[in-house]
Subunit: 270 residues, 2 copies
């Protein structure tokens, strides 16, 4: 039997000596030497990137939007890519799903059984029955959206007078972590909030997007980490489109991020 | 050029004399005479149901979870079904998507361009930039999750001291309705709240799930309707699994719902 997801997460941090997650979001609107704009060339680029990088990163984040835009062929690409990674790195299905329990079960089936991914991102707006199917198997993890990296995070995620909504959600997720397989999504752009959220959810690993293209603070992101609950730092565009976008450029960017992250961890004795 | 979605919605209510939306959520775990549990038989059942019912319903709601559980083959089924309906009825992509603007654009592309559906359901948690791609084309509509029909609706949707979160979201959606293509999802199980939400968002049509299997009040759902902003009543399991689940049973259930809904509308002079 597999360990709970949060133990698998920590084991992989140790094994790879990396807290870096590569977001494989290949956007046809971005052109570069290796990323052409057809589905076939994007698929080949993603497979090449995995072969070159799997032993250098903690894992991969697959944002379903970038696959679904191509419909069933994009979904088949997602299936092929998930299979190609083949347990050499952990994979987060960044699907941000949330639906009533009956429907959420089907979404969890798609991500955890059909695609056999290791974790999913989940939207908390519809509450506990929408989350439950994603945490029913301890070996599979769910990262609940808490305070996101985009401008719209300010619209509702700080709602409430006594306590902002996202902290309420952080406490809620912490209280549901009996199987040790829950985490939170906290944007690196939310520099001043990371410490408050860490206090509300001491046991939950963070998935931290917003570094690179979105301009979040790597220092703040990494120092939200603890030995028990490491922060996984996601970078997508900042790595995929580094330099000329060649495999060498991508690998260099990964190594530079790993080094920066590990230096911050050492300097802070985390 | 097509009219704004909310005008298309009202025109279709007039044309079909129906405010009933059929949720085509065929669950392999439910067995009946016509719904076998393989993908092929579910696909055939869905196509048969459309041929039998398209002129009797306002439109269809396709919950993506029920297709994605089968991966790329399920997504291909979704494509085939969307194409088969072929503008004979409006189609809501019940995907409940919500992501940062850059990713939300890809989701909107999938639903509105690739699948050519007429509207989508959208999760508001990530705020305005996550909604914008879904309302950029006036002819396409977005139903924002407001107060849902499931038990988890109580967890965060009433959050806040001054005003519950879902009413804040209702006001927000109303304020963004410049192109006349926004609506709200309000569960029929939320009987006492429907009137408050209607007051907060007088111009927005409601998509009301929760009738039938979830036990919501049809009377409360229908009386949230106004001539300007009709409520579209969604029924899924209550029609698909009516009687023995034959096409005749499904058609009878549709006709019975249409009659009940239209009677309530007449009785209340709506």
């Amino acid at each position: 039997m597999q360990s709970p997801f949060n133990i698998r997460l920590r084991t992989e941090v140790e094994r790879k000596q990396s807290q870096l997650c590569l977001g494989l979001d290949l956007d046809p609107a971005r052109s570069s030497r290796i990323h052409n704009t057809t589905l076939d060339s994007l698929r080949q680029a993603s497979l090449d990137i995995v072969e070159e990088t799997w032993d250098q990163v903690w894992g991969y984040k697959l944002n379903f939007a970038f696959f679904e835009r191509f419909g069933s062929h994009g979904y088949a690409w997602l299936e092929q890519l998930a299979k190609a990674i083949n347990q050499r790195a952990l994979v987060i299905g960044d699907a941000k799903r949330g639906d009533i329990g009956n429907s959420a079960r089907h979404y969890a089936q798609a991500i955890f059984q059909h695609l056999n991914l290791d974790a999913a991102t989940v939207n908390p707006y519809m509450g506990q029955d929408s989350l439950e199917p994603f945490i029913a198997d301890p070996a599979k993890g769910a990262f609940v959206l808490c305070l996101t990296s985009n401008p719209g995070a300010e619209d509702f995620q700080r709602y409430g007078d006594a306590q902002p909504l996202h902290l309420e959600i952080a406490h809620w997720a912490q209280s549901l972590n009996d199987a040790d397989n829950l985490g939170l999504v906290v944007g690196a752009t939310q520099t001043e909030d990371l410490a408050f959220i860490r206090r509300a959810a001491p046991d939950l690993p963070f998935l931290v997007p917003g570094i690179g293209a979105q301009g979040g603070s790597l220092e703040a992101a990494v120092t939200s980490s603890t030995a028990e609950a490491p922060s996984i730092i996601n970078v997508s565009r900042g790595i995929l489109y580094a330099g000329e976008g060649s495999l060498e450029d991508i690998l260099s960017a990964i190594q530079a991020y790993n080094q920066q992250i590990n230096t911050i961890i050492q300097n802070h004795g985390l």
